[in-house]
């Protein structure tokens, strides 16, 4: 009998290389390093392009010019007035939207009859391009802060109320049974179950609202031409000052980034009972 030796393919374990300290540091901070590299190279490309003429500074300015324009602006009282006006409009409109949208959204989501009554209006106003209402709101309250605050409010309110209603309607039925089984009062059911379960939806609404209120305030200011950073942007364009214009745009962008970060922080605070965040940080 011929002897045929069986052959095997070996599957090896992972080979562990000894890495240099620099390489280990890089692997730990890869996300930050590459993120910074991406941003820095963009600005570098922009600056060098503007200096060599590849990019026309008349239309696109350059990072250094934008910073210079910013330095010119921050010493002007007019600039700070514009910042104040835009900030008031944004804050008042957004806070009012949140304070009204959350309770009303919870009521619509919870009580069937409230929902039947408000649903048609909710759908109507949600479909309505609310920016088209600017001229009407001007007729009511003029071209001042009031009108722009109303436009901000409209943008924020519907962005928050729609997901809030959705959140209440998707509360886990098994948990509702627990509340009912232990004879929880309506108030207790809200505080212990409906509101905690709806928080992620409300936060999603606020995220959408951040974008909407910024669009709202800029459009309203462009339309009204009274004061605010939107007006500053428009005047800069009239004066063919793309550096000043981009500085204004940058400020709105910063407002968006800061509030998005703040919401992310709140979200992590409210969601600390969820496993996903710890896992994410561990990676």
């Amino acid at each position: 009998m011929s002897e045929r030796a069986a052959t095997y393919r070996t599957i090896h374990a992972r080979v562990r290389h000894r890495r240099s300290p620099l390489s280990r540091w890089y692997r730990r901070n890869e996300r930050t390093v590459l993120g910074i590299a991406g941003v820095v190279s963009f600005f570098l490309f922009w600056q060098v392009g503007a200096m060599t003429g590849v990019i026309d500074p008349f239309f696109f300015s350059s990072p250094v010019d934008v910073v210079k324009a910013g330095a010119e602006e921050v010493v002007l009282p007019r600039f700070w007035n514009d910042v104040k006006v835009s900030a008031i409009e944004l804050t008042l409109g957004t806070v009012a939207a949140f304070v009204l949208a959350v309770p009303l959204g919870i009521a619509i989501g919870w009580w069937r009859r409230v929902s039947y009554t408000f649903d048609p209006w909710l759908n109507f106003f949600n479909a309505l391009p609310r920016i088209a209402l600017i001229p009407l709101v001007v007729l009511w309250v003029g071209l001042g802060i009031e009108m722009k605050t109303v436009i901000v409010f409209l943008g924020g309110f519907f962005s928050i109320i729609v997901p809030t209603v959705q959140g209440v309607r998707t509360v886990d039925r098994a948990l509702l049974d627990v509340a009912r089984s232990f004879k929880a009062s309506t108030v207790r059911t809200f505080t212990s179950l409906v509101i905690p379960a709806t928080v992620p939806f409300i936060i999603t609404g606020v995220r959408i609202a951040i974008g909407r209120v910024l669009i709202g305030v800029i459009l309203a200011e462009l339309y009204a031409q009274t004061d605010g950073l939107g007006v500053m942007i428009d005047k800069a364009a009239d004066a063919l000052r793309s550096d000043r214009l981009l500085f204004g745009v940058l400020l709105f962008t910063l407002a968006g980034i800061v509030s998005t970060e703040a919401v992310g922080y709140l979200e992590r605070y409210f969601q600390r009972w969820r496993p996903s965040y710890e896992v994410e940080e561990g990676l």
Partner: protein
């Protein structure tokens, strides 16, 4: 007095209507008496109305006909539910989940937590009061679920397939744990399950139910000595109970299948 009834159900009937107005009888005329301190299992296939019956007792559902009497208690609740999928509030710590029933009853949060502590110890969750539910295994979540019902100090525990979602080994551990806790807490238990061995092992009486319409087939007294260890499952008496109940359920299955199906033998190659 052990002869007193903790629960007495007469002519309980539950009927649903779907959109075409066709009616579905979930429970048909069920009578059931449960004595004080007794451990009774409702055993049957899905759709036999066993969970529905439990929800009617708990007040989560209203029956279409019949009545259920629960013996009144001086303080606290007559009955408390242990839910199927633990149903813990994910945003509450284990301690706050266990205290939930008391908080709902108007007890201050501080006092409720104080009274929840010993129940957490009783179910074997010492040191886990501060954890969130997601940090617990399935078996531990069911322990918390049980502790939540025990904390309101109800006379009757209603348990709705509490171990159905657990793996086989954890389930066995939880069964013997439940007997230990039942012995310590001196409660009446109505336990819903579709597992024959679980019902026989735990119960004083097994109520075998059938589906479409949901009804009681048999009321079997389990005469095995207590306290029972898990190895009672390996005794011939236990096997006889299991076989009898299985035969009863199988006879029902055959009635509904028009032509008896030949047992399929695995093809041996």
């Amino acid at each position: 007095m052990t002869t007193e009834l903790a629960l007495s159900a007469r002519g309980v009937h539950m009927e649903y209507r779907d959109r075409s107005q066709a009616s579905l009888v979930a429970i048909d005329n069920v009578d059931l008496d449960v004595k004080d301190g007794e451990f009774v299992s409702l055993l049957g296939p899905s759709g036999c109305g066993k969970s529905t019956f439990l929800k009617i007792v708990n007040g989560l559902l209203k029956a279409t006909a019949g009545e259920i009497k629960l013996r009144s208690v001086k303080a606290g609740r007559e009955d408390a539910m242990v839910f199927q999928d633990s149903a813990l509030f994910p945003w509450y710590s284990v301690l706050d989940n266990v205290a939930y029933g008391l908080v709902c009853a108007g007890v201050s949060r501080k006092e409720a937590r104080k009274r929840a502590e010993p129940m957490i110890d009783l179910v074997g969750l010492q040191g886990f009061g501060g954890k969130y539910p997601y940090q617990l295994s399935g078996g531990m979540q069911q322990r918390a679920n049980l502790a939540r019902a025990l904390t309101v100090d109800a006379a009757i525990l209603l348990m709705d397939e509490p171990f159905a979602a657990l793996d086989a080994q954890t389930r066995e551990v939880m069964q013997s744990e439940l007997l230990r806790i039942w012995n310590a807490a001196k409660k009446t238990v109505v336990f819903v399950t579709h597992q024959i061995d679980e019902a026989v092992y735990l119960s004083d009486r097994v109520i075998v139910m059938a589906a479409r319409p949901g009804r009681i087939l048999a009321d079997i007294t389990i005469d095995l000595p207590r306290p029972r260890q898990l190895d009672v499952k390996r005794t011939p008496e236990f096997a006889t109970y299991e076989a009898d109940i299985w035969a009863l359920i199988a006879s029902q299955q055959q009635q509904r299948v028009p032509a008896p199906v030949q047992a399929v033998r695995p093809v041996v190659v």
